[in-house]
Symmetry: C2
Subunit: 358 residues, 2 copies
DNA sequence: CCCATCAGAGTAATCGTTTTCCAGCGCCCC
DNA sequence: GGGGCGCTGGAAAACGATTACTCTGATGGG
């Protein structure tokens, strides 16, 4: 029986059949091995033959079957990307850059949004079953034990921040301190002393680490952080709104508030405006991340920028170097990610005769 | 030579080897065929054997190799999702729901963001090369000729809106008119007569169709649309800001503005606030889509909700039914998607003695 | 001038499944 | 009690690539 029964006869309405490597070989009058070598740019193939093969490839519009390739090579050319919440505007922006970097290298992205909680296990399972060649864990600071399943299988991973200092994986080290310190010095220079902080959800390592960075930067800039001014949010609008409400209820509210991410800051801004406070006159506000939206809220948000391009590119680079390397795993690498203050219009000197209006 | 050389001897530090179907067969004392049948729940396999196989599977933590499966079955269990811009908050929300629906059916998502313009071709190429089993085209109303490459290959597709009435593919028919009409009637009831519209980029079909729906609904609700009040935006904040700026410059600005999507409305809102206009007192504003953010801008945006869950589920359902069906393609199916007005706080009666303050 | 070496192309094994085909076995009915 | 038939389960052929190995012919050195 012919391999492809009656291609031209049974389905005349099917002009675009998909050709395989043997079709190309036949048309070019060479063996499949030569075709494969040509496609993979193995240098030993004769230039004349290569030209014939390439012509056949063009004529037939041939391209290799990904799964067959993956099967024999053992690599899927799929990269997993683990994010906490695709709905948070920070992440689509990151994903976009990540995708760009991956596609440039011939990889595709499998996005896993871990959303609330125990999704992580399912998401990981899906990635393992799809045979991802590497995983970028962008849930800022999550070296979850569940991830061991990956490391057992020697799937390369790259993390953003980790709490353990001896973590045996490649890590993107975000220099939160740098940007935070700049922000605090900026606020201090404006005359602020009572500076609040609305964190993310502290069960997320991401949030914990940013809070630590805030506290450290406070000490470093000579301020003393008032305990009652450090609140927990959820890295979303709601948390920012709720956090700001709580801060305003205090007997001595802060004159400036730094937020663990921009969405929190925007939520806080919303609450201030709803209650008739003017920003920055009545309260200064600083965000973190510099998402696109921050430039467009009113007033435009002063925030600390963390370069997403830098993160995406470093992560892909780290992953690929691990994937390509065949030698036993070498020491973990670290990739510094810088942060810096972007001053817009939500910071000003504190009102001298400020009275909370309740 | 053994198939897996020295598993236990050469790599003692590698506890989690990956097992294949033969390992399971050996351990269960059956043939690989029986294991495969058990895994795929073929009913003819003896219950006792099945139990033995399942035990072996559990013991070894076996799961089938996706690429081998895909290779032999010809299906990748990958669904392509084409969106115009992952950065627009509407789409992450949609993607999330889409992913949920796909994963439930054992499919994975390949997301393609067509961003500016001719990316489309590359994105499609990537999808074809990955052998997607189906593609959902969420670029609202884009039956681009480039997509022919998919239909030639008989890749099932599902669209949101199309302009051609005889389009030979499954289509999600969003009933824009319904929500638009509700919105216009609401505005009319409040006393508005001069109603503006800021569209999306008209090169996108999405935008064109929404504009048509607006104009049709205007006629239907007895209003006459003033030509000068219908502007082109870009479905982003910037377009909304710019559009509102233009409208305010008019000798007779509208008293209410409907926007083609929420981001546009939020941009317009931003401009109004920057210029000291109060919303809704000085100007009423209505968005479209009901993205999460809309509830949290200040004041909360009155908007037309289009159910993303409905879209995602219908799309996946349409795709799967095409993928599963082996019979020659049947007539295109249509899935109605409803829209409805969500009244929040950006609409009010027009100010009687309104003077633009320039 | 002959043999060793090497470059380059072809043959075939392999990756891990699914699935077709076939053999064996028990059962039913005559 | 024997023959046919229906089930079950196994052996083996795909799926479409990569690549180790083999083979052929050419080339260079002794």
């Amino acid at each position: 029986m012919p391999r492809k029964p009656g291609r031209a006869t049974t389905s005349p309405a099917t002009p675009n059949e998909r050709f395989d490597i043997r079709d190309v070989a036949k048309r070019a009058g060479v063996s499949v091995a030569t075709v494969s070598r040509t496609v993979n740019k193995v240098p030993t193939v004769n230039a004349l033959l290569a030209a014939r093969v390439n012509e056949a490839i063009r004529d037939l519009d041939y391209f290799p079957n990904t799964q067959a390739r993956a099967l024999v090579s053992g690599r899927s050319r799929l990269l997993g990307l683990l994010v906490p919440d695709i709905t948070n505007p920070f992440f689509p922006e990151l994903i976009k850059r990540f995708e760009r970097a991956a596609v440039e290298q011939g990889y595709e992205l499998l996005i896993g949004s871990t959303d609330d909680d125990s999704d992580l296990q399912h998401v990981l399972r899906r990635m393992i079953e799809r045979n991802v060649d590497g995983v970028a864990v962008m849930t800022f600071g999550a070296e979850d034990p569940v991830l061991d399943e990956l490391s057992h299988r020697h799937v390369p991973m790259v993390f953003v921040d980790v709490s353990k200092t001896d973590f045996p994986q490649d890590v993107l080290l975000v220099n939160y301190g740098q940007g935070m310190l700049e922000a605090l010095q900026h606020l201090a220079a404006l005359g602020h002393r009572d500076i609040g902080f609305i964190s993310g959800p502290l069960k997320e390592h991401s949030a914990l680490i940013r809070r630590e960075a805030f506290l450290a930067s406070m000490r470093q800039s000579g301020c003393t952080a008032r305990e009652d001014l450090v609140l927990e949010g959820d890295h979303q609008l709601e948390g920012g709104m709720y956090g700001m409400t709580s801060l305003l209820r205090l007997p001595h509210p802060p004159t400036a508030v730094l937020c663990s991410n921009d969405m929190t800051a925007i939520g806080a801004l919303r609450t201030l405006q709803q209650r008739g406070f003017r920003v920055p006159d009545d309260m200064s506000l600083v965000g973190f991340d510099d998402i696109h939206l921050s430039e467009f809220v009113h007033p435009p948000l002063t925030t600390v920028r963390m370069s997403q391009t830098e993160i995406a590119q470093s992560a892909v680079r780290a992953l690929l170097s691990r994937i390509e390397q065949t030698t036993p795993r070498s020491a973990p690498q670290f990739f510094p990610i810088s942060t810096r203050l972007i001053i817009r219009e939500t910071t000003a000197p504190p009102a001298l005769t400020r009275r909370p209006r309740f």
